[in-house]
């Protein structure tokens, strides 16, 4: 008996003891709870994302109530209430008090909470920092009671711990309300709850958000349209996007009798001919039972898939915001002189359909000497952190912005009075980490962002070129006008004209000048021209100290 064996047993026991909940409790930064400020935002973000997804799934125009109550000593009570379809009683404890529950594991459907840990992580965070249970109330329809739970998570077993379970009358026909007490920090600024909710409203014009911040100020973001976004369809995964682990899991749970049946029913765009080609390369039989396929064979299959030509997945499962609504949103936020928006056709990366939409706002009251402001969105969710690590930023930096009338040192963001908004919709948005803050650098995605921005950039270039031309022309005209009085004086001296004649000369010279050089468009910024602009709205989320302005690069949290 080796002493090391004993040690190994001991270690194995210890390792088993660390449950999934405990692991996450110890690694909260992976989930967006790095610091108190971010913890508050992440909690609200998870809850709002869930509410919006649920409403849209049920075809209900969302109305979300967000309230943050300052309970002193860095403690906050967060209450989020929606008018969604509600949750059936049995599921409530698991959804809110079990990590990784109901994870949309291999379901491919455009949604906000597509991946990641969900609201239960917030419940756990609150419990860890305040010792308090979270309260959930949900009602699924008229005539039904509202169920009210007090919940905690057993961090060792990752199972819901039900503190209380009751029913209550709720005047609302249906909806869900959650209340979490947690340790947090409330601050305004570019990465604040205020900014997050506002940006959410910008890209979700069908949503009404009523927000009461810890200072008891109520902000209402009313919906701008009653039209719901096109409902996104769930699609089967495409073989090109499947990873080994997922593939193995799918083989394990499939009811299919043969590999060929498995492939053709569980994946999109796979025909028997495609299966035959995969099998030939991987050297397996199409009629083998899925559960009998060895790990080695799975590896061969996954390797074989990219070598076989498979049709791209259908892309009609994507629900874009549309260029028009995107532009409307940015107009509300930024008072600029020029706007452009572009919605690309859907494209595919690694078997996953995605679609890029961009909007540009140029000039106006934006600072001229600072880097462009970047607003990033994924599936209608604002991304406020890790701008530097994001594929969107990389795509912007890879574009030469000079032809569009901006300054830029190579490889950097452009400098000038510009806001760049980029939205990616996808059945599976590839984030660089579970905290869903930065988009992964897939070449197909970067290329689409680049193409969209270049298209918008070309119309911007037309505008800036015209503006530069008008500016040059104005300079010339004012130079000419500077000397016109001397022409008049010269003529007056030679011909002995009187004051009235001189004035007539000046008037006529102006007429001649305009007739000769053409009428000039007024390119001066008119702050009242943009009727969508809402000054109060634009102020939301801004630091109260006046020295931080928009357009400044947002600081990312230390990583």
């Amino acid at each position: 008996m080796e002493p090391g064996q004993h040690k190994a047993h001991e270690m194995a026991t210890k390792q088993r003891d660390i449950g999934v909940a405990e692991f996450f409790a110890r690694n909260r930064h992976l989930l967006g709870f790095d610091n108190k400020r971010k913890a508050l935002l992440t909690t609200i973000k998870e809850a709002v994302d869930n509410s919006l997804d649920a409403c849209e799934e049920a075809g209900i125009l969302p109305e979300i109530n967000v309230e943050i109550i300052d309970m002193q000593n860095d403690r906050f009570r967060v209450i989020i209430e929606d008018n969604g379809p509600g949750i059936v009683k049995e599921q409530i404890p698991s959804i809110f008090a079990k990590l990784l529950y109901g994870s949309k594991f291999h379901s491919l459907k455009q949604s906000r909470g597509q991946q990641g840990i969900g609201i239960s992580a917030s419940v756990m965070y609150g419990q860890l920092t305040t010792g308090r249970a979270s309260k959930v109330m949900s009602k699924i329809g008229e005539g039904e009671p509202a169920h009210v739970y007090e919940l905690k998570i057993d961090t060792k077993t990752n199972k819901p711990e039900i503190i209380s379970d009751a029913t209550k009358e709720w005047s609302k026909p249906h909806g869900t309300k959650i209340q979490i007490d947690l340790e947090g920090l409330y601050q305004k600024g570019g990465q604040s709850v205020d900014e997050y909710l506002k940006e959410t409203a910008v890209v979700n014009p069908h949503v009404t958000i009523i927000y009461t911040n810890p200072k008891a100020e109520q902000l209402i973001f009313p919906r701008a349209t009653d039209v719901m976004p096109v409902k996104s369809e769930e699609i089967k995964p495409h073989p090109y996007g499947v990873e080994l682990g997922v593939f193995m899991k799918m083989l394990e749970v499939t009811p299919s009798k043969t590999f060929q049946q498995f492939m053709t029913t569980e994946f999109s765009k796979v025909s028997p001919k495609v299966v035959k080609e995969i099998c030939e390369i991987a050297r397996i039989l199409p009629n083998v039972k899925p559960k009998k396929i060895s790990h080695e064979e799975v590896e061969k299959i996954v390797k074989a898939i990219p070598e076989v030509k498979i049709h791209a997945p259908s892309t009609d499962c994507i629900s874009p915001i549309t260029a028009e609504l995107l532009e409307k949103g940015i107009k509300k936020e930024i008072n600029a002189e020029f706007y452009a928006s572009v919605s690309r056709s859907p494209a595919v990366y690694r078997g996953n359909p995605f679609q890029i939409e961009v909007a540009l706002a140029y000039g106006g009251d934006q600072p001229k000497d600072k880097q462009a402001r970047v607003m990033r969105f994924a599936n209608r969710v604002p991304l406020l952190f890790q701008q530097g690590a994001c594929g969107v930023t990389k795509a912007i930096q890879s574009i030469n912005w000079k032809p569009y009338g901006l300054n830029q040192s190579s490889g950097s963001l452009p400098v000038g009075p510009l806001t760049i908004l980029v939205h990616i919709s996808s059945v599976w948005v590839p984030f660089t980490s579970e905290s869903k803050e930065a988009i992964a650098h897939y070449p197909e995605i970067l290329a689409e962002i680049k193409l969209a921005l270049q298209e918008a950039g070309r119309s911007l270039a037309k505008y800036t070129a015209k503006k530069a031309k008008v500016k040059g022309e104005l300079k010339k005209r004012s130079f000419i006008q500077k000397y016109m009085p001397h022409v008049a004086t010269g003529l007056q001296e030679i011909l002995g004209l009187d004051k009235a004649d001189e004035e007539e000369i000046l008037r006529n010279l102006d007429i001649i000048l305009e007739a000769k050089r053409g009428k000039l468009d007024n390119m001066e910024f008119d702050p009242t021209k943009n009727e969508e602009y809402d000054e109060e709205w634009a102020k939301i989320g801004k630091e109260e100290s006046s020295d931080e302005e928009y357009g400044e690069e947002r600081e990312d949290d230390e990583e």
Binding site: I480, M484, T489, G490, E493, I494, I505, L509, I512
Partner: protein
């Protein structure tokens, strides 16, 4: 005199009429450069051609358009009050024209020249006089001028200046001459002029000495022309043997310049002959030389390629090519290598008597 005022008014009236009818106004002045002259073989001078500059309500010409009108206004005022202003004074007058002021005198001089060219008069008729010295005269000549106050005649005997000289005034039209001299010798440098004057060369040869001190001024050119025409005197020119002496000093004296092309007709001396120093003289008189600089060679190339006068005369092309080939130049003073009086005792008498060795 009143003709000039009439002309100024006429041009200003045309501009004014255009403006009154809301039509774009413009002034047109002849282009004054070698590119806009042709050598008039019959008359023997550079005649101005038809290219014009247009000044109007454009960003590139509005300033000079306004300045031209204001300068015309100043000229009218001067002529009407029988006053004059030097070119320098005119430049200073512009300093209270606000934005239309000139920043350097060459700018105001140029506008002045444009007005001359436009009106086809010379600047003295416009009331402007040059600031510079017109040239020095010594020898067998009496100049008849008058006192400006009493209008009484003054006779100036150019033999009576000792080692000094009579100074040519900026305006020479009113002068009259008495002389029995045989020829006029126009000399490039003041130094050579003084040597010849001091040693009474003019007495010995019965001639009139004129120092040009570089490129002759308009007054100097006009003085020589008038004197030569009225007294039927040949004009001999004596410069350094270098591209500047040939292409600038002699050429300008004889046929005029590009810049003042509009008045060349009166401000040139087509009868002038070049006696030296020629490239041949270097060998003939064993003269010490200096190597040509890069800029001299460039100047020779430019003269051969662009100067209508040189292009008209094979002899000059030959001389310049010879100089370019030998890569040397020679100064008037070089004759001192053979003794200080070699130039007046040997060189000048020999060259003046041998027309075959002249250049046209």
């Amino acid at each position: 005199m009143n003709d000039v005022v009439q002309d100024i008014k006429k041009i200003a009236q045309q501009v004014y009429d255009h403006i009154k009818k809301a039509k774009p106004p413009a002034l047109e002045t002849p282009v004054r450069s070698l590119s806009n002259v042709a050598f008039d073989k019959k008359e023997g001078f550079f005649r101005i051609q038809d290219s014009v500059k247009r000044r109007a309500l454009t960003a590139s010409t509005i300033k000079s358009f306004a300045q031209t009108l204001r300068m015309m206004g100043l000229s009218k005022e001067l002529v009407e009050s029988d006053d004059t202003a030097t070119k320098r004074e005119a430049y200073y007058v512009s300093k209270n024209w606000g934005d239309a002021r000139f920043s350097e005198q060459p700018e105001s001089d140029s506008v002045m020249d444009d007005i001359e060219a436009m009106l086809r008069v010379n600047r003295e008729q416009l009331g402007f006089i040059p600031g510079e010295h017109g040239g020095a005269v010594a020898g067998a000549l009496t100049v008849i001028d008058h006192d400006f106050e009493t209008k009484k005649e003054i006779k100036i005997d150019c033999t009576q200046f000792g080692s000094g000289a009579y100074s040519i005034p900026s305006s020479v039209e009113h002068l009259k001459f008495e002389t029995k001299a045989k020829f006029i010798l126009a000399i490039e440098t003041q130094g050579m002029f003084e040597r010849l004057n001091k040693h009474n060369y003019w007495k010995k040869e019965n001639c009139i000495l004129i120092a040009m001190s570089g490129v002759p001024t308009r007054a100097c050119r006009r003085f020589i022309r008038k004197l030569s025409d009225e007294k039927h005197l040949p004009v001999y020119v004596f410069t350094d043997g270098d591209p500047y002496g040939y292409g600038n000093i002699y050429r300008t004296l004889k046929v005029g310049s590009g810049n003042a092309a509009h008045i060349n007709e009166f401000f040139c001396v087509p009868q002038a002959k070049f006696i030296g120093v020629t490239p041949d003289d270097i060998d003939d008189y064993h003269l010490p030389t200096h190597p040509l600089k890069e800029i001299d060679l460039k100047k020779i190339k430019d003269l051969l390629k662009n100067d209508p006068f040189i292009q008209e005369h094979k002899e000059w092309q030959k001389a310049l090519q010879q100089m370019a080939k030998n890569k040397v130049r020679v100064e008037q003073q070089a004759f001192a290598a053979h003794g200080l009086n070699h130039v007046m005792e040997i060189y000048l008498p020999e060259k003046i008597s041998d027309a075959k060795k002249w250049l046209p």
